[in-house]
Amino acid sequence: MSKPGDQRTLRGRVAVVGIGETDYYRHGASPDPEFKLALKAILAACKDAGLDPRDIDGFSSYSDDRNDASRLAAALGTHRLRTATMQWGGGGGGCCAAVANAAASIVAGLADCVVVFRALAQGQYGRFGQVSGVETISGEKAYLMPYGVLAPPQRFAMKVQRYMYEHGVSQDAQRAIALASYHHAQANPRAVMHGKPLDREKYDASRWIVEPFHLYDCCMENDGAAALVLVAEERAREFRQKPVFLLGAAIGSGHRSGAIPHNAPHYASAGFDTVAPDLYRMAGLGPCDVGTVQAYENFTGGVVMALAEHGFFEPEQANDFLTLENLIAPSGRLPLNTSGGNLAECYMHGFELVIEAVRQVRGTSTSQGRRNDVAMVIGGPMVTPASNLLLGSEAAL
């Protein structure tokens, strides 16, 4: 059965043994500086695992996280540092890649116990949705910013508009995604939007941010941190929690996806046309095996595209598939963003989605899907590089 090529996989080789996060705050509301948030999330993940934080020997993050691996290692007094990995570019598109990079370090024998994390206090370092203090600009943004295409809502709306045009996707499909996130957030006491339900009428009455995005199609801006602990499969059962195994991971984008400004040949795309097949190939699974999906919502339109590119439906079927009923736990066909995600739990730059997928496999989500053997995470639609993960229980190996 075993061929040399089979060795080049992450499938079943590493497990998540601890997860942790800080309280989640509206931007500007964190009482703690960002570095302290990072430390709190990491310590919470170690505590969850029953691990001495001094035994961490690597850190992995993405999107130029400011909380440097060496500073963390010094602050925590780790015995040694053996890997420090930063995923290039892609904003939230790195949330799964950071896990994959940590896993690769462990499988390759560079490190044994790697923390993957994201800490982000937009209230302290600037909101993603606002631009100020920029006098001159070069490169990609020079072709956009002088025309008022400044922040992510304006940068992504034209891509979604084109996709809706090419495939006949309606506003209702986007609305269903927003409603599902808010529905799940009502069961999740960690969620910033807990206690603030959203219904169809409220969505329809909400203002446009940029057509085709209503207010509720757009992610929040928050302060917080989230972390997980990854170890080799051989050690996975030594810890306090039920281990959650990595079944597959993939990173990247298709041909010239990074051609600026807005010149990618396959423009109306979330960027998973090459990445999704890689993920399924590594895991040896297909869309019908997936119990729940956490799909990064910078904007709901990106989720429509990402789910289609992962084979859950054809783009032309999006309007039929994407209904609230189909997207909610436990009974929906494909429970989506079961913690509330970037729209309604916390914009932890997608790392809250990774943590939620671990909870689904453990069976401890506040909106548990019917099937918890295989959970998917999709990171960062419409950016490059994007990334994704499949996590699963021991039974799924």
Binding site: G129, A142, P146, Y147, L150, R162, Y267
Partner: protein, 154 residues
Amino acid sequence: MSGREMPNHLPEGLPIPVPELDGLSAPYWNGLRENRLLVQRCSHCDAWQFGPEWICNACHAFDPAWTEIEPCGRIFSWERVWHSSHATLRQHLPYVAVLVEIPHAGSVRMVGNLLGDPLQAVTIGTAVEGCFEHHPGSSPPYSLLQWRVSSPRE
């Protein structure tokens, strides 16, 4: 929206485009100041390229040549912005940004504003023509390329 001479020109105060320190896009920005639209076209393989790069992505010849093209095309996608992401735009909402495809230049695309009524219906595929918008009093001075719907003709 009457009374303003060119209602969709955005106010001064937005980030000013300047070439990179290595000068990669300088021919493009300098061209706009002279009412000329320049994009790259490789002299080895004839591939069009925009935004600019130091190499032709098709054949790997360095320093693709700059070629002047007619500033006209069709709307490939669009958006109408209702929420400002910059203080200078708060009193200038909504405005429309378009992504224009230029079929006679390898279908390269560029972003600009659609001039005219900001509430106008916008249709993908509509023919548009470019208008050079100069900001000579700015420091440093710069020019943009804006778009308006072409006069109807068969």
